[in-house]
């Protein structure tokens, strides 16, 4: 275990860059994750999330820049970094022939923990797999397997637990179960959780703080509620038959903070206290032939759009 440096953040990235040939996966990423946080790294596919985790867990060597875990450079001291982190991979990584109990017990032994069997039992309880402890992992459901991997990641009481897309490919019920367990993880007072996701919903539901990244760079960082509130209100989308001149009328309507003409008759209006001002907006453009009105409370999707100027493409 690394020496604890009380003032050092759990994770700090400075100008982290990773190039694979001509492709730049990380482009000078700066980030700071405080101790004990439940932190989310949100971004579309290809944003550089997995590469970031790869660097932090010593699996990927950065082209330039630095990653510090608890104040220590991961490139300089990979063994220390490896002992300090837990990692739950995006892809499955368990031996299908072993039972959950054996998987955890073996991992506990490989981490040289005292009382490996008892520790394995504690974590099976924590992720609700005590009843499946003696079945080969190949007979478990996708969600159960993922929970087993999460339990394995926590086994050695890591300082930072990295979860790479913990619910990707799961059905909604299994996903909800994972969220439940993630919220109640036995973090034993100090484990910082850092998860990546391309699901806005997941980031919103789980994370105390978020960093949105896009094309290998930090877009914005903060608590989800603060990020959403900073947009200054609700968003109303209008689709109009004749959009010419509508933007000016909307701009003059009460409560309106901002207008963006998205083309094709679509206009995006940022409005304070949407439900109260919606009627006024509708009235303002009634003459333009309203095809569709869609009001949304601010979501992280809006946050992403606001900061990057393009839509969040979760799937390609």
């Amino acid at each position: 275990m690394p020496r604890e440096m009380d003032d050092a953040p759990a994770l700090e990235l400075r100008g982290l860059t990773k190039r694979y040939g001509d492709v730049t996966a990380l482009d000078g990423l700066d980030l700071r994750v405080e101790r004990g946080a439940f932190f989310g790294l949100l971004g579309p596919n290809g944003a550089g999330k997995s590469t970031t985790i790869g660097v932090c867990t010593t699996l990927v060597r950065p082209s330039s820049g630095h990653a510090f875990l608890l104040g220590q450079d991961v490139v300089e001291d990979p063994a220390v970094a490896r002992a300090a982190v837990g990692l739950v991979f995006q892809e499955p990584s368990i031996d299908p022939e072993l039972t959950p109990g054996e998987t955890l017990e073996f991992t506990a032994r490989l981490h040289h923990l005292a009382a490996p069997r008892r520790r394995a039992g504690e974590l099976l309880d924590a992720v609700g797999l005590s009843g499946e402890a003696h079945r080969p992992a190949r007979t478990l459901s996708g969600g159960q397997r993922r929970r087993l991997e999460i339990a394995r990641g926590l086994l050695h009481r890591p300082y930072v637990l990295f979860l790479d897309e913990p619910t990707v490919g799961l059905d909604p019920a299994a996903r909800a179960a994972i969220w439940e367990h993630l919220r109640e993880l036995p973090r034993e007072g100090r484990t910082t959780v850092c998860l990546t996701t391309h699901s806005m919903e997941e980031a919103d539901a789980l994370c105390e703080r978020l960093a949105i990244i896009d094309r290998g760079r930090l877009v914005v960082e903060g608590a989800p509620d603060v990020l959403k509130a900073a947009l200054g209100g609700d968003v109303v989308y209008f689709t109009l038959e004749r959009a010419e001149g509508a933007a000016a009328k909307l701009r003059a309507a009460p409560g309106v903070r901002g207008i963006a003409d998205r083309g094709g008759g679509r206009i995006r209006v940022t409005v304070e206290a949407g439900p109260r001002h919606l009627a006024g907006l509708v009235e303002a453009v009634a003459a333009h032939g309203i095809v569709e009105v869609d009001m949304r409370r601010p979501t992280l999707e809006e946050v992403f759009l606001h900061h990057t100027g393009h839509v969040f493409e979760a799937e390609k």
């Binding site: 990692l87 991979f89 892809e91 031996d95 991992t107 490989l110």
Partner: protein, 250 residues
């Protein structure tokens, strides 16, 4: 050092658990050699081996070495399986040395091979002149051959991604190694250039030593076989670990 030993033991136990659960594996590994020795042994009943050991004894000893060797190359096969299941990825982020992973697979193979040979030798004492006069020599041969083939399998696995290509290449490499090792016929029957190849093949020394252990006959000096088998096998293990170290990084 102690940590490597402890990790090796943990990984060895995991491998053994996997073998233990695979019932079909044991049935196949036990039935196959008995069937060959039983059938071919009759067909070759009157053919003589070196020093009057009889062909059935020589063949049985050879087939057992083959079982040990082809089983051991499965160590590399299981490395690809571990990579496919993703288990290897999890091992590589744990604080475990690559050496432990290789030695764990080797250790498990030795345990499984000893079990197989013990189970097979008993019925073979009824069918062949096998009497196991030098069990120590047989064990050294078994460990050496296992180490050589586990190393070969792992080296191969670090270079190949798919199970199918592994199978093909493994056969491509092992079959010539078997053919020039004197497990099917005495080395003295081979022309000089093939005999030279045989002398560079660790399997030759393993097979001869094993024959000495099982039947009490040998073609090569026993001391030389022990020295060359252990030396060459150890070298191969070191190379396999080095290849694995290099290939395991991304």
């Amino acid at each position: 050092m102690r940590q490597v030993a402890a990790d090796t033991l943990t990984l060895l136990r995991r491998e053994l658990l996997r073998y233990r659960r695979d019932r079909a594996y044991w049935v196949g590994q036990l039935v196959f050699p008995l069937a060959i020795i039983g059938i071919a042994g009759f067909g070759l009943r009157n053919v003589d081996w070196v020093q009057g050991a009889g062909y059935s004894g020589g063949l049985a000893s050879g087939i057992l070495v083959l079982v040990v060797g082809s089983g051991a190359i499965g160590g590399g096969f299981s490395l690809i399986e571990d990579r496919d299941s993703g288990f290897l990825r999890a091992l590589l982020v744990a604080p475990v040395s690559r050496t432990s992973i290789v030695l764990g697979k080797l250790g498990a193979r030795i345990v499984v091979s000893v079990a197989l040979v013990v189970l097979l030798v008993l019925p073979l004492t009824l069918l062949t002149p096998i009497r196991l006069p030098h069990p120590g020599a047989a064990l050294v041969a078994l460990v050496g051959v296992s180490a050589f083939f586990v190393a070969l399998g792992i080296a191969l696995a670090t270079q190949l991604r798919r199970l199918e290509s592994f199978r093909t290449f493994a056969a491509l490499i092992t079959i010539p190694l078997y053919l020039v090792s004197g497990i099917l016929y005495p080395l003295e029957n081979l022309p000089v250039f093939l005999r030279m190849a045989a002398y560079a093949n660790p399997m030759t020394y393993g097979a001869d030593l094993f024959r000495w252990g099982l039947l009490g006959v040998h073609e090569l000096p026993v001391g030389l076989s022990v020295a060359l088998l252990t030396g060459l096998s150890a070298l191969c293990v070191v190379v396999a670990v080095a290849l694995f170290e290099r290939g395991a990084r991304t």
